[in-house]
Symmetry: C2
Subunit: 364 residues, 2 copies
DNA sequence: GCAGAAATTTGGAACGTTACAAAATAGGTA
DNA sequence: TACCTATTTTGTAACGTTCCAAATTTCTGC
């Protein structure tokens, strides 16, 4: 209408070229460009080509913000992970990504570093950016009351962990059953003084695993001894930290079920450093079966949680809800596998637990 | 103007409440709400409180898409990482996050799994979502021609790796110098047949490290022998794969500088499995100094690259450019440290290299 | 060559936000 | 009280996109 703009580019002044610029260049209306963008079959092949070409030469970039304004779905799934320095969660994140990819969603990861404040920021930010849904592995000590309003109206799947007061879909391993089987294995190998090491009582996951541990004791008529339970950080250092108390028990423990592999490895290293022959004198079973468990000396027995599968299932559930529009909470429990290696010392006398898997030495 | 809407909520029908709903509820105009949102000092304290309260009760969520439409900056930094299953890059990612946090930016991570196609998708998606800048650790084999147009007009820092034809800011370790010092250490310990293991010639990082290796040989007047150079995948398996050829050399090698720690550990395990006493019979030095290097048996000597610092510096640079609006490419090289442990067997006879650090046994 | 159908294309009018200029209100002072 | 200055508040016009109804073009069969 008014004077025509400067030669090439014809950008909308902000540097970024718009759908209108493209339309101009291709000699069509912006509606047509929009149609091309959405892959509509209405537009004629020749036109489509002309438009596509114009987009390429102008370096057009789709402005998703403008689109969501009109109600378009963003195609982004937010994944909020508590601790990416833990290889277990990394593995889970990879599973999440894989599943997103097949569903044509793009995952944006945020690492909360177990910091509830940061988690709040990050969830809000994802929300503001129009994420279609969230996969959440919540930080420890998350204040549910503050988090909840940020999640309303969008599908959320809590994976691996779950918050006490937050009613969303959940994908988690069968923690209780896994811990029960691991403990039963130790018992069947002759242990009766079995410690439970790692985590804090406030963690729901620990509650589950701990419950499995107690259940196995109960089933074997072994009295529960609270002095065998050690709360500690869930990292290498945490595992190492309990050694002084563990070795100073009046009635010594002969084995330990650890909250996770990282704790188990920390414990194993510290015990070895203080002269205890792990595997022969002391049995250890971890939880999660991270990659490293295969490479420690002795190799660590562990309750295998398929982290990748966990992530994958979570996204599949989320995508299903997204597709159906029905966000009704749903819970999926994934089975675990007891993997017997050298650290529990008793591979030979392994009981007839059909669900246990003893790894061949040559497997590595 | 027309009939008033239904009681509570008064949402804009899409479920999400808007600035207008808030304004209505607080009895002010939407302009005022916008002012409150941006923390302007123009608005009276009483009004601000009323508005804030209205936002809380309505569960208002800021629509960043609408804001960017008006030219607002998004406050998001995209971080595109080639491989999050590699602990080195995870550590770097954590550094990136930390730095983002202090700068009040929110990082969104995307893992490209070394897949250039996925990388393209992910970069485009970040762009579409209005990321203010990008920290990029590019995937191997990235087609620069396709990537370049997606990056125009936004500040980008390549970290750790760099693409041959892509002119952006760069933050990288002093690869050449680190490799030179590590090789010199092996030479000073009496080795003359030193292999270079891992990576492919197309990787710029490997070119740098390889150049340092050759420089050290040259400085010691040791002729270069191409049969000592092994190209292989940069993972555990890659390191293990070279053992057959390595042990079948006419003139055997007595030591190896590896492209990175993961390769070195793979090599170490495979050598140990075939009966070679690493540390005594064969010296190995890795690169990156990942956490695991401290825990292998024997402990792995390595050229320490401070991954976290690398990430931090990259973001700092990016934020500086974002603040100044000057996106002129800049290169930052971070120094490396040679960490001598047991795997190169010669800690005792360590040369007078003032920059080398020999780790005390008690350090662990 | 024409009506009717089918295939394409096209103007707006939103969507939720911000910036700007202008309006309203409050606070002093003569 | 009337006037001037600060202090607050508010319409209005974008921003780049999609959607819908309506307009235009291209095909059919006669």
């Amino acid at each position: 209408m008014n004077a025509r703009m400067d030669g090439q580019g014809t950008k909308g002044r902000g540097g970024r070229s718009t759908i209108v610029d493209v339309a101009h260049r291709a000699g069509v209306s912006k509606s047509t460009v929009s149609l091309v963008l959405s892959g509509s079959s209405l537009v004629a092949e020749a036109t489509r080509e002309r438009v596509t070409e114009a987009m390429a030469t102008l370096g057009y970039i789709y402005h998703r913000g403008a689109a969501t304004l009109r109600g378009a779905k963003s195609g982004v799934i937010g994944m909020v992970i508590n601790d990416l320095s833990n290889p277990f969660f990394v593995e889970m994140a990879i599973g999440i990504e894989e599943a997103c990819q097949v569903g044509a969603y793009i995952p944006f990861i945020a690492n909360t570093v177990e910091n509830p404040v940061r988690q709040l920021q990050v969830v809000r930010s994802m929300r503001e950016h129009g994420a279609a849904g969230l996969v959440l592995s919540p930080a420890l000590g998350t204040p549910v009351a503050e988090l909840k309003p940020l999640l309303s109206g969008m599908p959320v799947v809590q994976v691996m962990r779950r918050l006490a007061g937050l009613k969303t879909s959940i994908v988690a391993p069968e923690n209780k059953d896994g811990a029960r089987r691991a403990t039963a294995h130790l018992i069947a190998s002759g242990h009766r003084r079995i410690a439970f090491v790692g985590g804090f009582d406030s963690m729901v996951v620990r509650q589950d695993r701990f419950a499995g541990y107690r259940l196995a004791l109960e089933e074997a008529d072994i009295p529960f001894d609270a002095s065998l339970v050690f709360e500690t950080m869930t990292n290498y250092a945490g595992g190492g930290a309990v050694v002084p108390q563990l070795t100073n028990l009046r009635e010594p423990a002969t084995a330990a079920l650890c909250f996770n592999d990282v704790v188990a490895i920390g414990l194993m290293r510290a015990l070895a450093a203080s002269g205890v022959a792990v595997g022969r004198e002391f049995g250890i079973i971890g939880f999660d079966d991270i990659e490293e468990a295969r490479h420690t000396v002795p190799a660590l027995s562990s309750v295998a949680v398929n982290a990748r599968a966990l992530g994958t299932r979570a996204v599949q559930l989320l995508m299903r809800q997204l597709a159906s529009g029905d966000f009704e909470p749903e819970t999926i429990l994934c089975p675990t596998t007891l993997v017997i290696r050298a650290s529990c010392g008793t591979a030979l006398s392994a009981p007839s637990n059909s669900e246990a898997r003893t790894e061949a030495k040559s497997k590595d």
